[in-house]
Symmetry: C2
Subunit: 198 residues, 2 copies
């Protein structure tokens, strides 16, 4: 049985965690056995998003296990940001929004890199292309990723596509873009402040 | 004025030449000033396709000119197959169907690599996504690319997507898939035979 593992970069941020979770879910709906994973601790901002929308963090792995046939990279492509034993596995897909560097495959693959502010924005498009409806929970996770990468839609990397996706996803998730986004960023900031006094 | 140059690999084949021509045309329809180019001689198979559908070969260049702001790579991504001075220019897009290697950008880009048999198959999808109708001439060029890369739809790299695109494009171009494809491949083969006796 071929198992596909989907993960983002080391020192995971909200886009990396939420995109792995949501893309694994989309793949499952499409009939592909896919499991999300993560290469590091969940930060407090991301934990807030997971708790808010009732999601579990993906399993933490140190390296890719031997029962995996294919890996899908989300939110990164550079090998130094990825699993240490990546070169031992077939990379079947990459969904990302960063520059491409230090990346290479032995075989053809599906690689989708777009100059937008967040991987979640690309995933939102993929749901539409596949004709799959985004659940409120997944919409909330994708929205969280966009609000995080775009710093509340204000970062210079934020595009019109990210903004449109955020408002659309907030409607599905049933939250207010600004209120939810600010609460999520605060949850991350509050706890970093606390840890400074630990 | 920003000028975008679109080209395929060195030792150009029919997919490289036709994809550069057709994608430059699609870009122009979409309002982007884009020019096709080529990095080597047009082979006899490709010349047959160009003549058959009334197209001109793109301009031959030795390297990318200084008036170019952006380059778009089609049908390749590895730097050793590309223009020698590629690293001096911003790569804004890649449309390809090969493994990814020896490729790197300084900035985010639109990179679309799919595990299909031909770049032209991806371009056919892009026309649909953009809601642009493929002209009979462009359909003929895309069909030629598919028949060439897939060796008349028989190569192991040929996918169902390539087959479907070929039949659809042949309908638009007004030719028979098998008859036209065989004539095109013969045109290439005949002249290689000849040159062996030169
Ligand atoms: Mn990230
Ligand atoms: Mn990201
Ligand atoms: Mn080629
Ligand atoms: Mn090709």
């Amino acid at each position: 049985m071929r198992k596909t593992l989907i993960f983002g970069h080391k020192s995971p941020d909200t886009d990396t965690i939420c995109s792995a979770l949501v893309y694994a879910d989309l793949k499952s709906v499409l009939g592909v056995e896919a499991q999300p994973a993560r290469l590091g601790d969940v930060n407090q901002e991301t934990q807030y998003a997971l708790d808010y929308f009732g999601a579990e963090a993906p399993e933490r792995i140190e390296e890719v296990g031997g029962d995996v046939s294919d890996v899908i990279l989300v939110d990164h492509n550079e090998s130094q940001q990825s699993a240490d034993n990546l070169q031992d596995f077939r990379i079947s897909e990459v969904i990302d929004h960063h520059r491409v560097a230090n990346f290479e495959t032995k075989e053809p693959l599906y690689m989708r890199v777009e100059p937008v502010g967040c991987t979640a924005t690309i995933l939102n498009d993929m749901y539409k292309e596949k004709g799959v409806v985004v659940s409120p929970k997944n919409a909330g996770l994708l929205l969280s990723a966009i609000m995080s990468d775009s710093l509340l839609l204000k970062s210079p990397t934020c595009t019109e596509a990210d903004r449109e996706a955020a408002y659309e996803l907030a409607g599905i998730a049933g939250v207010d873009v600004e209120t939810y986004g600010l609460d999520m960023l605060k949850a991350g900031a509050d706890l970093s402040d606390k840890s400074a006094y630990d």
